[in-house]
């Protein structure tokens, strides 16, 4: 009996691992936007999750425009050729990335920049305000119910119909988008001129100005990059979950923000690590503890980690000697 159970358990564990890692990678992509912005202007941009939500609605509207269903659409896209679907996906990706990047830029320029030298609470409260405005825009755009997002990608198991472990094209898509984006961002920040200017500005904005860095430009660029990542995340989320709602920004934004804090806010690798941990805790937690305890578990772990490492897992700031 025992021997018969064990492979099944292993299969389940592997499955939870896959589910956790894919969801975690998605959360990590959103978390990068929180952490980069915090790193550079010490602002928790509460509107970031809602920006992600609006990105999904932008994609949905484009799909509706192209005749691929839209609000209330339920059928799968099995009749369209994969060539057409690839084209449509690329179109959605371009739109959602540009839309979120542009919107994030606009919010920084019109709301946060005038408050740059105000007490820290002013931009923070404004960010909460922008979050509500975005959420209301989403409510207006998509209505109060969950909205179906066209099922553009097959749910077939890549390992075969009867395999014990499921890996779908959707899982592959998530990893194929998130991992290269995170690698590209890491390299960008490490080696490019703008990336170095971003790191310098994050570490000491006054000194960065004294080096000839246009810190306002660098801050704008940070919001644009963070927004673009949220846009990419919004599309792969919608395509793989097939349900979007005006509230999805709040829930996922909270996970992403938690991921950023867990990994050490301001640190890019920290956001990735935090996202993966949250994905895994959620996946294993709902299997072994129960769905309704998942959030308590995620935040319980956050609190425990912060008690022992207040700066987060990778947030070991070099002590500055004065």
């Amino acid at each position: 009996m025992l021997l018969a159970v064990e492979p099944a358990l292993w299969n389940s564990l592997t499955q939870y691992l896959i589910n956790g890692l894919t969801f975690g990678a998605l959360i990590a992509l959103i978390a990068l936007g929180y952490t980069m912005v915090y790193g550079i202007v010490e602002l928790i941009n509460f509107a970031h999750g809602d920006l992600f939500m609006l990105g999904s609605f932008a994609s949905l509207s484009l799909l509706a425009l192209l005749g691929f269903g839209g609000l209330g659409f339920t059928a799968t896209m099995t009749d369209a050729s994969s060539f057409v679907i690839a084209g449509v996906l690329i179109g959605c990706a371009i739109l959602s990335v540009l839309f979120c990047a542009g919107l994030n830029f606009a919010v920084e320029y019109t709301v946060y920049r005038p408050l740059r030298n105000a007490p820290k609470l002013a931009p923070l409260v404004s960010a909460i305000g922008v979050s509500f405005i975005f959420m209301n825009a989403g409510l207006f755009w998509g209505g109060p119910q969950d909205v179906n997002f066209p099922d553009l990608i097959s749910n077939d198991n890549l390992l075969g119909k009867d395999a014990a472990i499921r890996i779908t094209y959707k899982d592959v898509l998530i990893i194929a988008v998130t991992v290269p984006l995170m690698l590209a961002l890491t390299i960008f920040v490490k080696v490019t001129r703008l990336g170095k200017a971003m790191r310098a500005t994050a570490q000491n904005p006054t000194a960065a100005s004294l080096m000839g860095i246009d810190t306002n430009f660098v801050i704008s660029a940070t919001f644009v990059i963070g927004g673009a990542l949220a846009g990419a995340a919004s599309l792969i989320y919608a395509v793989s979950m097939n349900t979007i709602s005006y509230q999805m920004g709040f829930q996922n934004g909270l996970y992403a923000f938690t991921a950023a804090v867990l990994g050490g806010i301001g640190r890019i690798p920290g956001a990735v690590l935090g996202g993966l941990i949250i994905g895994l805790v959620r996946s294993f937690g709902s299997a072994f503890v129960g769905e309704m305890w998942v959030n308590a578990l995620v935040f319980g772990i956050l609190i425990i980690i912060l008690i022992f490492r207040p700066t987060g897992l990778l947030g070991t700031p070099v002590r500055e000697k004065v």
Partner: protein, 237 residues
């Protein structure tokens, strides 16, 4: 010949409070000008206003023939002004080498930058030994050397130094002041803010004394150094 830097009736401050009241001063090409004054007199505010970090509220700043009114800090750097700011403001998680590279942010001449890096390492050999280390891990003296070298990497015409000796061991202070003197001998103009008035006045050509945001005394450094009031107030005699 007009001065390299001319500050005329400069007023600036923070929030509702004016810190500087009608400050006027000049730095000629090739000079070391010292600015001394008690803690809180407004020395750092003067340097930060000249550099464009703090906005001037009235008065004019002319640098190398250009009016700096309203110019943002990052543009002023390109005109040839470098600063080692108060507290050094090293980028703590960038390596020593990366800190120096940030100093050359405004430049694109790769061979020239490489040359200047070598010069910095020759001037401060410890920076070469530590070039792969995070800036935040250096000692106070090493950070000061890095801050000066980083400012020099932009090839400035005028070097602003804010309290380069603060908190350093005496032999390091001597080393730093030797470097400032050598830089000046090779043509660098320097505006030196110091609480260590004695050391500053010994290497400076001229000096300004700042009290609560006003210039109250200015003369040749040797005259200032021997003025009984200055000796009583700033040299502990």
């Amino acid at each position: 010949m007009p001065a390299l830097l001319t500050v005329d009736k400069l007023r600036s401050g923070y929030g509702p409070i004016d810190v500087l009241h009608d400050i006027s001063m000049t730095v000629d090409a090739g000079e070391i000008v010292a600015m001394i004054g008690a803690n809180g007199a407004g020395k750092t505010t003067t340097l930060m206003t000249i550099a464009g970090i703090v906005k001037a509220r009235a008065g004019t700043i002319t640098f190398d023939g250009q009016n700096l009114s309203g110019a943002p800090a990052h543009k002023i750097v390109r005109l040839g002004m470098g600063q080692s700011p108060e507290g050094r403001k090293i980028f703590p998680r960038l390596t020593v080498l990366e800190n120096l590279e940030m100093g050359a942010f405004t430049r694109t001449d790769k061979p020239g930058i490489a040359d200047d890096l070598e010069k910095m390492f020759a001037m401060f050999p410890i920076l070469r030994e530590r070039k792969g280390q995070a800036g935040g891990l250096l000692s106070g003296g090493q950070q000061q050397m890095l801050a000066i070298a980083r400012a020099l990497m932009s090839r400035p015409k005028l070097l602003l130094l804010d309290e380069p000796s603060l908190g350093l061991a005496p032999q390091i202070v001597v080393q730093i002041f030797d470097v400032i003197r050598d830089l000046n001998k090779s043509g660098m103009s320097v505006l030196l803010v110091e609480q260590n008035a004695r050391m500053a006045l010994r290497i400076a050509h001229r000096a300004y004394v700042l009290e609560t945001g006003r210039v109250t005394f200015t003369d040749q450094a040797s005259v200032v150094l021997n003025d009984p009031r200055i000796r009583a107030a700033y040299l502990g005699e």
